[in-house]
C-alpha cells in the first residue's frame, strides 16, 4: 500500500476499494488489508480537506514588467457587518 499522492487520487482509490469490497470476491487474506487501506485513505482525504493555509496576496507589476506579490490588506469588517 503506497502513500496516496493527492486528494483526487486518494478519493478515486477509496471509491475503487469500496467497489471491490462490495463485489464480495475478495479472499479473507486481503480483506483486512484492503479494509485497512480504505480507512487510511479516508483519513488522508479528511486531513487534506481540513488542511490549507489562509493567505491573501496581490500581484503588483514592477517597472521591469515582472510581477511581485505583497500581502493584500483585507479591511476589517468589524463587528456586526452585514451583506
Amino acid at each position: 500500500m503506497s502513500k496516496p499522492k493527492d486528494f483526487e487520487t486518494a478519493l478515486q482509490r477509496l471509491e475503487e476499494i469500496v467497489r471491490k469490497l462490495d463485489s464480495g470476491d475478495l479472499p479473507l487474506a486481503s480483506l483486512l488489508e484492503v479494509y485497512e487501506e480504505g480507512v487510511t485513505l479516508s483519513r488522508f482525504c479528511q486531513t487534506k480537506l481540513e488542511e490549507a493555509e489562509r493567505k491573501v496576496e496581490i500581484l503588483n507589476k514592477k517597472a521591469d514588467g515582472t510581477m511581485e506579490r505583497s500581502p493584500f490588506n483585507e479591511p476589517d469588517p468589524g463587528p456586526g457587518s452585514q451583506d
Binding site: L28, L32, G38, E53, K55, V56
Partner: protein
C-alpha cells in the same frame, strides 16, 4: 435660338468641383436611414458600403478613424442611421456619404454588438459545453482578476472568511471599466495562467450599467478565458446581468459572492462524499466478514481435517496480527472522530444563531454522533467475528482444496507423502479424499521426471 450666344463650357473637373461644393454646403451633417449593402471592409480599415431603401441607393464610406469607434460590426442587411456629410469622389464622379457615426436602428449599438459577438463566438465553438473544464475538487489557491478596490473582491473575501475557508488567494489587480479595462482583464487571465499553484480563477466585478460591465463583453476577454488552462468562473454584476464572459467561462456565477460559494461548496460535497464512502467501506467489510464466518462455521462441522497443521499456524498468527491492527485502527479512528467533533463544536460556537447555520450544525452533529455510534458498534462486532474466524479457520483451508478434487496421501506413520520415492513397492498408504478415505498398497514407484 441664338447659336452665337456665349456659352459657359466647364471642364469635367470644374463641374465636379461645383457639384461637390454645392453638395457639401447643402448637405452637411445629415443623418440617413437605410439598409447596409455591398459592404467591403478594406485592409486599410475603411468601410465601403451602400445604404439603400426600396427606391434608391447611396454610396457611403466610413474611414478608419471613425470606424474604430463603432461598437457593433457593420453587416449587410443591417438597418442603420448613418450621420455625416455628403461629398463627391471626384475621380469617379460618384457622390457619397462620408459617415462619421452610425448606430443600428431599433436598438443600441452595445446591445447589437453583444448579440453579434455572441453569435460569432458561439459559431466558433467558444461556448461549447464539452470544452468546459470542471472545477477542482479541492482548490488550494484561487486567482482573482478584478479591481482591488471594487465591491467584488470584498464580497469574495467576506464569503471565504465567513465560511472559515483556509484558501490562498492571489489577486491580479485590473481596471474593470473604461478604456483599456478589457486589455487589463485579458492580461490578468493570461498572467495567472503562468502560475502553477492556481487551481481555479474568478474573473469579475460588481454591478453597474451595461457600459460599466462592457469590458466583459469584449472579444479579447472572451478569448483569454477560452484559452485559459485554469478553470474560470465568470462573476459579473448581478444575477440579471449576462456577459460574453459568462458564456465562455467554465462556470457562470450570478454574483462574485456566489462565485466564492461555488468554489468552496465543492469542499462540503467532498466531506460528505468521503464520509459516505467510509460508511460503505465499513458496511461492506462487516458483511464480508459475516459471510466468511458463516462459511467457516458450516465447514467446521466436518471434523475430518481437524488434525491438519501446516499453514494453519501461519493463518492463525496472521489473524492475530490483523485483528490487533484492526482494533488499534478503529480505536484511533474513533478518537479522531471525537476530536473532530470537538473541533467542529468549537467552530460552530463562533457562528451567530441564524436559522440556516443552526440547521447545519444540527445536521453535522447528528451525522457525527451517528458515525461515532456506528464505529463503536462495529468495533465490538468486528472483534467477535475475527475471533470466530480464528477459532474455525483450521478446517477451512484444506477442505476447500479437497473439495476441488485433490487428495492427501499418507504413509503408515501418518506422514504426508509429497514425493513418490518416499514409498517403496509394497508399502501401505492411505488416501484422504474430500469425503472418505482409501487404504492401498504401492505397486510401482515412478520418480518425478525432471
Amino acid at each position: 435660338m441664338n447659336l452665337f450666344a456665349p456659352r459657359k463650357i466647364y471642364t469635367v473637373s470644374e463641374i465636379t468641383a461645383g457639384v461637390k461644393a454645392c453638395l457639401e454646403s447643402e448637405f452637411s451633417q445629415v443623418s440617413v436611414e437605410g439598409e447596409i449593402s455591398n459592404l467591403a471592409a478594406a485592409a486599410s480599415g475603411h468601410l465601403y458600403f451602400g445604404l439603400k431603401d426600396k427606391g434608391a441607393q447611396i454610396r457611403c464610406v466610413c474611414f478608419r478613424g471613425k470606424a474604430r469607434f463603432l461598437k457593433f460590426r457593420a453587416e449587410d442587411g443591417l438597418q442603420v442611421i448613418a450621420s455625416g456629410n455628403l461629398s463627391v469622389y471626384e475621380p469617379r464622379g460618384d457622390y457619397q456619404l462620408i459617415v462619421d457615426f452610425m448606430e443600428p436602428k431599433g436598438f443600441g449599438s452595445l446591445q447589437l454588438a453583444f448579440e453579434q459577438l455572441k453569435a460569432r463566438l458561439h459559431a466558433e465553438g467558444l461556448f461549447d459545453v464539452q470544452r468546459k473544464k470542471s472545477l477542482p475538487l479541492l482548490p488550494r489557491c484561487i486567482g482573482i482578476v478584478t479591481s482591488p478596490t471594487g465591491a467584488a473582491i470584498q464580497d469574495i473575501l467576506r464569503i471565504l472568511r465567513r465560511r472559515h475557508e483556509n484558501l490562498r488567494v492571489l489577486i491580479y489587480p485590473a481596471r474593470v471599466q473604461g478604456q483599456g479595462a478589457a486589455t487589463e482583464i485579458a492580461a490578468g487571465i493570461r498572467a495567472l495562467n503562468g502560475l502553477s499553484e492556481i487551481d481555479v480563477m474568478i474573473v469579475g466585478r460588481g454591478g453597474g450599467s451595461l457600459e460599466d460591465l462592457w469590458a466583459f463583453n469584449e472579444e479579447i476577454v472572451a478569448r483569454a478565458i477560452f484559452e485559459s488552462r485554469i478553470p474560470v468562473i465568470s462573476a459579473v454584476g448581478h444575477e440579471v446581468d449576462f456577459t460574453i464572459s459568462d458564456f465562455v467561462a467554465d462556470l457562470r456565477a450570478p454574483t462574485p459572492s456566489a462565485a466564492a460559494e461555488l468554489v468552496v461548496s465543492q469542499k462540503q460535497t467532498m466531506l460528505e462524499q468521503v464520509a459516505a464512502l467510509e460508511n460503505r467501506l465499513q458496511q461492506s467489510f462487516q458483511f464480508r466478514l459475516s459471510q466468511l464466518r458463516n462459511q467457516v462455521l458450516t465447514l467446521s462441522a466436518d471434523r475430518v481435517f481437524a488434525s491438519v497443521g501446516g499453514r494453519l499456524g501461519y493463518y492463525r498468527q496472521r489473524l492475530d496480527e490483523l485483528s490487533f491492527r484492526l482494533e488499534s485502527r478503529l480505536g484511533s479512528h474513533l478518537g479522531e472522530l471525537k476530536g473532530r467533533e470537538r473541533l467542529l463544536a468549537a467552530d460552530l460556537g463562533h457562528f451567530d444563531l441564524r436559522k440556516m447555520l443552526r440547521l447545519k450544525r444540527e445536521t453535522v452533529g447528528s451525522q457525527f454522533s451517528r458515525l461515532q455510534g456506528a464505529s463503536r458498534l462495529f468495533l465490538q462486532s468486528a472483534r467477535g467475528q475475527v475471533q470466530a474466524l480464528d477459532n474455525s479457520l483450521q478446517a477451512l483451508s484444506p477442505l476447500a482444496v479437497l473439495d476441488r478434487g485433490y487428495a492427501i496421501c499418507r504413509d503408515v506413520r501418518g506422514n504426508i507423502v509429497k514425493d513418490a520415492t518416499i514409498l517403496q513397492p509394497g508399502d501401505s498408504f492411505s488416501v484422504r479424499l474430500a469425503r472418505g478415505q482409501v487404504e492401498g498398497q504401492a505397486k510401482r514407484i515412478q520418480a518425478a521426471e525432471n
